[in-house]
Symmetry: C2
Subunit: 209 residues, 2 copies
Amino acid sequence: MARTAGSDGQRTEAAIRDAAVNLIARHGYEAVTMRQLAAEVGVQAAALYRYFPTKEDLLYDLMIAHMEALIASWESARPIRGGCSARLMAFVANHIRFHVERRHSTHVNNMELRSLSHERLSAILKLRNRYEKELRTILREGAEDGSFLIEDSAMTAMAIIQMITGVIVWFRPDERLSVDEVTETYLAMTMRLVGAARHSEKTHVLERA
Amino acid sequence: MARTAGSDGQRTEAAIRDAAVNLIARHGYEAVTMRQLAAEVGVQAAALYRYFPTKEDLLYDLMIAHMEALIASWESARPIRGGCSARLMAFVANHIRFHVERRHSTHVNNMELRSLSHERLSAILKLRNRYEKELRTILREGAEDGSFLIEDSAMTAMAIIQMITGVIVWFRPDERLSVDEVTETYLAMTMRLVGAARHSEKTHVLERA
DNA sequence: TCATTAATAAAACAAGCGTTCATTTAATTC
DNA sequence: GAATTAAATGAACGCTTGTTTTATTAATGA
């Protein structure tokens, strides 16, 4: 056999991406074989090479897509006006929502950096830095205008990011806890962590979610 | 050739563990080959099998050792007396110190769980749960006696653990920042995060470090 | 209808994988 | 000094890996 009836390149490529994210998140990039991936898609291994020149190209593609989606997500969620507290809450809420929705993709991006070549690693880290800079800026400006009481904005940014990304490690939706409830608690913890003055605007962030 | 002059089983085994932790932390368990590991030790691949029946046995050994060392470390650092704030600070300080000292080992334990068999994974998670329970207990008791103001002690425990373990992701010793300085800041962030009443005993924890 | 292009199968490739085996040498014991 | 044990070698095994090549079929446009 060769080309199968009803086959469509775009659909196949999307199916490859999808299966790859799931398999790599579960077993790790090195552990997933091209044959295993092909079987999951329902295709022969050689067919994968029409869409991705190498296995690493596929990984890199997934990672770039994840980072660009993350940045785009924040750019559309970022509040036009509002104080530093409101901006911080918007950042945290958007970050948690995004990562819970893309648990597998996040795992790939966090665990498989070492499988990238030097230049590609740099490209991913550059995007990551661009994103994290948003949080650092919020924290620095909040510290300057007295909204927050923090020791070091760079360190605080790392602490917050690790804390809120960590949600995906233990949280599974469809349990007795909803994403909104978890977000609410993490928002409260974050605001205390940065020494924010009492905030009555707590629920504003989640209203549109 | 065969047995080499001055060869010693105990030393070789220790060298294997050491090289394995470093290689696996850097490249990942699946990516590290037995030949690569053997070369790092300065021995032939077959020699590794005198000490570890399979590659997975080696990984499991490293992980169990890490978890047992972590638990032992807390058991000897845990304060005999003192309120919940003091206990929480001792926990955080010990956790950060331990993990910074064993960055590679920590990475292996956090990243390679998926390469273990079901039973072995359970064994590791059991130890991990035993350790995390210590923090949950401190938080729960602190919430009950009014030392802390938290929403959910289990959730707060996860948030804190992810935050303080995350230090190893960005922190490199021998820079402009010492472990003690980082610990000090993380202690302050943690105490605010749990809504602890003002604590004047801040430096007590680090005095013996 | 017929050439063209897109999508896939099938088979092969060389390289590398974890692991085993028989053997050899160094250290230890009697 | 001979016998025994500990430590390691070197070659091989069967299998799998990522990838390439070649051939074949389905969809597309003139």
